[in-house]
């Protein structure tokens, strides 16, 4: 068995395509995802912040303070317009053609005297589809005027400062979340991680599986191997361990890469939240994630080997394996559904339970007793599939199709 394994691994390590999917892809995937998302979103935010926005005010004569304060800002440039407030289509076209970034339409009834005019409505026309700073900058100016107008009204009414607060916010709800940052972020991204890890494991194991099953048939080496004095189960196990080795290597590289790049990029980009989040996941949690992936990889390896040995050619094997990727996604999707927790029947569903457990480990809310059904169910399924693989390998109908 180990002779077969050793030879298969040598061949595996000499195949650039397999090495790419097994090591390079998982190694590069996370820096590309993390780095790419951080870099491009950071750049977009920076560009939006630095951009000087052009604006126009229709009815500016009714709100001279607002117009003056907006014009006074360095990041805003006023554009004169002869548009009237009735010409909504013209205003929209003015923004749409990017002559200005936004238009404020002030009603003729606008007044700074809150007590006489009540609540005021100023229309803001903007293209809100992309990232922009329009609302933030307008709000900053409006808030200032709002505060001044409120203050004037309260003084006129003779309302004390304490009552003012009560009038403005009669009831304040102070939220005390018992979820720490790790749990919060883990809930958001924890379901996504197993999805990536499973697919990368499968991807890492797929090529070697195709090569050492259907590839052997296509090359004409299988028959020669079958007539050597090695029991069939030893041949299967040698091949199985090779595929599992590729999958586990892929998983190890994936999780290692996820951990290292997550911390490095977060520190390099001074993203405190991510640094804290990554730091909060203990090495034991990472080890547990890896250990749970072992039976998962065994399930994948035996399924892939069975499909590969059934196929007549490399191409046919790839045709059979593609649906497996979609089948793998189903249990992960179940784990992502709202209300699905690592309890009861879900703790016993292979793959779904591992996906849920990985999420719990990332969140830091893992019930370690759930490891029992996870390891039992995935190991039993993996064992049965390996037994099937050995049976499959003894079938002439499969080997000599």
């Amino acid at each position: 068995m180990w002779l077969v394994f050793k030879k298969e691994v040598i061949e595996l390590l000499r195949d650039r395509k397999t090495l790419f999917f097994m090591i390079a892809l998982p190694l590069l995937f996370f820096p590309i995802i993390f780095g790419g998302v951080f870099y491009f979103s950071g750049k977009a935010i920076q560009e939006a912040q630095e951009k000087t926005l052009k604006f126009a005010v229709v009815g500016g004569e009714f709100a001279p303070i607002l117009t003056k304060q907006l014009s006074a800002r360095d990041d805003l440039t006023i554009v004169k317009t002869s548009l009237s407030s009735d010409d909504e289509a013209g205003i929209k076209a003015f923004v749409k053609t990017e002559k200005v970034d936004f238009v404020l339409v002030v009603p003729s009834t606008f007044s700074n005297d809150v007590l006489s005019s009540g609540q005021q409505t100023i229309m803001l026309y903007l293209n809100d589809a992309g990232l922009n700073m329009v609302q933030r900058r307008v709000n900053e100016v409006v808030k200032e005027i709002e505060n001044t107008n409120q203050q004037s009204a309260f003084i006129s009414l003779g309302v004390s400062e304490a009552i003012q607060e009560g009038l403005l916010n009669p009831i304040v709800i102070e939220k005390v979340s018992i979820a720490d940052k790790r749990e919060d972020l883990g809930e958001k991204i924890g379901g996504f991680i197993p999805y990536l890890v499973f697919i990368l494991c499968l991807q890492g194991a797929m090529l070697p599986a195709t090569d050492i099953g259907a590839g052997e048939k296509e090359r004409g080496t299988l028959e020669t191997l079958l007539i050597t004095p090695i029991p069939r189960q030893d041949l299967v196990m040698g091949k199985f361990f090779t595929i599992a080795f590729a999958g586990v290597t892929s998983a190890m590289v994936t999780i290692g890469s996820m951990f290292v790049w997550g911390v490095l990029l977060a520190q390099g980009m001074a993203i405190k939240l991510i640094t804290e989040f990554m730091g909060a996941i203990s090495p034991i949690d990472f080890v547990l994630m890896f250990l749970m992936l072992v039976p998962v990889v065994a399930i994948f390896a035996s399924l892939l080997l069975s499909l590969s040995i059934y196929a007549r050619s490399f191409k046919e094997a790839q045709g059979y394996m593609t649906p497996l990727v979609f089948l793998t996604i189903i249990p992960i999707i179940i784990a992502l559904l709202p209300g699905i927790e690592l309890k009861g029947v879900y703790a016993w569903i292979p793959l779904t339970n591992v996906a849920l457990a990985m999420k719990e480990l990332i969140k830091g809310t893992m019930d370690y007793m759930a490891l029992i059904p996870i390891f039992v169910s995935t190991s039993v399924i993996a064992g049965l599939l390996i037994a099937f693989c050995v049976y499959w390998f003894k079938r002439e109908k499969v080997l000599f199709r």
């Binding site: 030879k7 061949e11 080496t221 028959e223 020669t224 079958l226 004095p229 109908k397």
Partner: protein, 256 residues
């Protein structure tokens, strides 16, 4: 010595609709089963080369696959130097060297690694393998490409490494299924010389081919099979005498 008696093998036809007109008319198609080999008998003694002849689809490859233990027969018996192949396939495999024209090599392994892998699978020590490879290198002229990866080998190079791989463990019997198919004259000559070498060492060789000139050069006995049954068994002289003309004519006489 190789003894085959009343060998039979049938395959279930998975999709009868996919059979060609010719296959449907084949008398070996009985219900859901195709009786590829129905009654094959022959014997090959030490120092003999047996030529296994037959038209395409006669059942030669299936017979040789059963002989090599890759397929299990449905009936009959195979004995290699007294060992029942059906009862002791692992023991029998130690005694067999098998090579076909379609045999491939592991492309990412060197010629040496390919040979050594099969040596190890046969339980040989590294020293024994190294010594045997040295011997085969000289015999089959492997030195110029032995250390190169086999993915870029020519057909002739591949076949020479395949021969070395098939006999690295010094098998007691050698089975060759159309070993010269697709080879050029030089490579074919190497194979023929190698078979002669085996004969000199008293190793029984079963040799399936369509090239009657090779049969003439190498074989002591001939077995002709058609439609899964032995049609002729005898020495080469008697076979030639079937028509009194060429071996080709004798072959045609044997299958009528």
């Amino acid at each position: 010595m190789i003894e085959i008696s009343h060998l039979a093998k049938k395959f279930k036809v998975e999709n009868p609709k996919k059979l060609s007109e010719q296959e449907r008319k084949d008398p070996r198609l009985k219900g859901k089963f195709f009786h590829s080999v129905q009654d094959v008998n022959f014997m090959c003694d030490h120092g003999q080369v047996l030529g296994l002849l037959g038209p395409n689809g006669a059942g030669k490859t299936t017979t040789l696959r059963m002989l090599s233990t890759a397929l299990a027969p449905d009936g009959g018996s195979i004995k290699i130097n007294g060992v029942d192949v059906l009862k002791n396939p692992l023991v029998a495999r130690q005694k067999i060297g098998f090579l076909s024209g379609s045999t491939g090599l592991y492309g990412r392994l060197t010629g040496r690694e390919n040979i050594a892998y099969f040596g190890r699978l046969h339980g040989m020590s590294d020293t024994a393998i190294a010594n045997k490879i040295d011997e085969l290198t000289e015999l089959l002229d492997l030195s110029t490409f032995l250390e190169r990866r086999s993915e870029n080998f020519s057909t002739g190079m591949k076949q020479r490494i395949s021969i070395a791989r098939a006999v690295v463990h010094d098998p007691e019997v050698v089975i060759l299924d159309e070993p010269t198919t697709g080879l050029d004259i030089m490579a074919t000559q190497t194979v023929i010389e190698f078979i002669k070498g085996l004969k000199d060492k008293q190793v029984p060789v079963i040799f399936s081919t369509h090239h009657l000139d090779e049969v003439e050069q190498l074989c002591d006995t001939v077995t002709v099979i058609d439609e899964g049954r032995t049609k002729y068994n005898g020495d080469i002289e008697s076979f030639a005498g079937l028509s009194g003309k060429t071996l080709h004519d004798s072959f045609m006489v044997s299958i009528i």
